[in-house]
């Protein structure tokens, strides 16, 4: 009896789709809206390309201004013992990026003298929570994959003493196809 009910229920559910009909006129109107929006995007893009040299020029001026007024920043880095500014970036990684290819790899130099435990985490800044990552040791061994916690991908408390100091690789990828959007990747050892 129950099986018969189940069978009929499946049949009725399957037919539900056919029982809902969408007015073809509305479907066509929506198509036109989408088509015009896509065409407008092209125009916007053209405008962007035209604005590119001007933006570049403004950017260059800003960089020059920053370079001339960076004495305070230099003072701070001297205090921290990072006169080159590169040592700090090599030890830890923080990057905001957009995935434009199938995957992207980042390298980070981790020193176990500084700390033998390390946290890796990635914040998906867009709404689709799509990106994940894998972490590889300096010798290429896969250390682990990130675990999902809502919009965040985590790989916490990695024991670096097992792998030693050196250049670690983080590969960011999208398992279900790239749908665009920004993310922030952070690596910190302590």
């Amino acid at each position: 009896m129950s099986n018969q009910h189940d069978h009929n229920l499946f049949k009725d559910v399957k037919n539900l789709d056919e029982s809902i009909s969408w007015d073809p006129k509305r479907q066509f109107e929506l198509r036109k809206r989408i088509e015009s929006e896509i065409s407008n995007k092209k125009r916007e893009r053209k405008l962007k390309y035209n604005l590119l040299p001007i933006t570049g020029l403004i950017g260059a001026i800003c960089i020059i201004i920053i370079l001339f007024s960076s004495s305070t920043l230099l003072e701070e880095s001297v205090e921290l013992g990072n006169t080159s500014g590169q040592q700090f970036a090599e030890a830890e990684l923080q990057v905001e990026d957009v995935l434009t290819e199938n995957n992207k790899t980042y390298t980070v130099n981790l020193d176990i003298e500084k700390g033998s435990e390390c946290n890796f985490w990635l914040n998906n800044l867009h709404n689709s929570y799509n990106y994940k990552y894998k972490v590889y040791a300096p010798d290429g061994t896969l250390i682990g994959k990130s675990e999902t916690a809502k919009s965040q991908e985590r790989l916490y408390a990695v024991d670096l003493s097992k792998y030693g100091s050196g250049v670690y690789t983080v590969k960011v990828y999208s398992p279900y196809g790239n749908i665009g959007g920004k993310y922030v990747l952070r690596v910190r050892n302590f």
Binding site: D12, L16, S21, Q27, G177, I179
Partner: protein, 174 residues
């Protein structure tokens, strides 16, 4: 890929899948105008991300995954945004007349549709994808980002819940 070529490909995808995507979103949101807006958003995102589609054979589940993400974002936002909730209710009243002509539900299926609408969103989605859209368990996993066992167990629970909802009314199995 040339822009015109991409545009034409996305518009052919619209012709192929828009009806199914709209019905999928409509059954989830229970509001025609929202379903139309979110279908629009889905195909704009399909256009923007088309170059990043890895496997063109999986285009169907890819589109449904985008539709799923957009709908879930909307539902999350709606939960948080009380203003949007009221404006949505107002719009629903305003547009009641146009709705009738835009989307039609066969009267004999009204009760089944309403029972499905009473299920929680995850149950609704899995029933729509597996039983209405006829997607495989693997495709459903890809769309929802779930494991195979989760899809199977949620589907069983969803069908049981649907049966319970229907038995509250007087739905007669044909």
């Amino acid at each position: 890929m040339q822009r015109d070529e991409k545009k034409n490909e996305v518009l052919s995808l619209y012709d192929l899948y828009s009806r199914r995507v709209l019905k999928f979103i409509f059954t989830l949101t229970k509001d025609y105008h929202t379903a139309e807006d979110l279908t629009h958003e889905t195909f704009i995102r399909v256009y923007n991300s088309y170059g990043q589609l890895k496997n063109k054979e999986k285009v169907e589940s890819w589109i449904f995954r985008i539709a799923h993400n957009i709908t879930m974002d909307y539902m999350r936002r709606k939960k948080l945004n009380i203003f949007e909730h009221f404006s949505h209710q107002y719009r629903e009243k305003e547009a009641n007349n146009t709705l009738e002509s835009a989307i039609m539900i066969n009267e004999s299926f009204q009760e089944l549709y309403e029972a499905l609408g009473k299920l929680k969103p995850s149950y609704r989605e899995v029933v729509i994808l597996r039983k209405i859209e006829g997607m495989s368990t693997k495709e459903t996993c890809e769309i929802l980002g779930w494991s195979e066992s989760k899809v199977k167990s949620t589907l069983l629970r969803a069908l049981k819940a649907l049966q319970q909802e229907l038995s509250k009314g007087e739905w007669v199995y044909e």
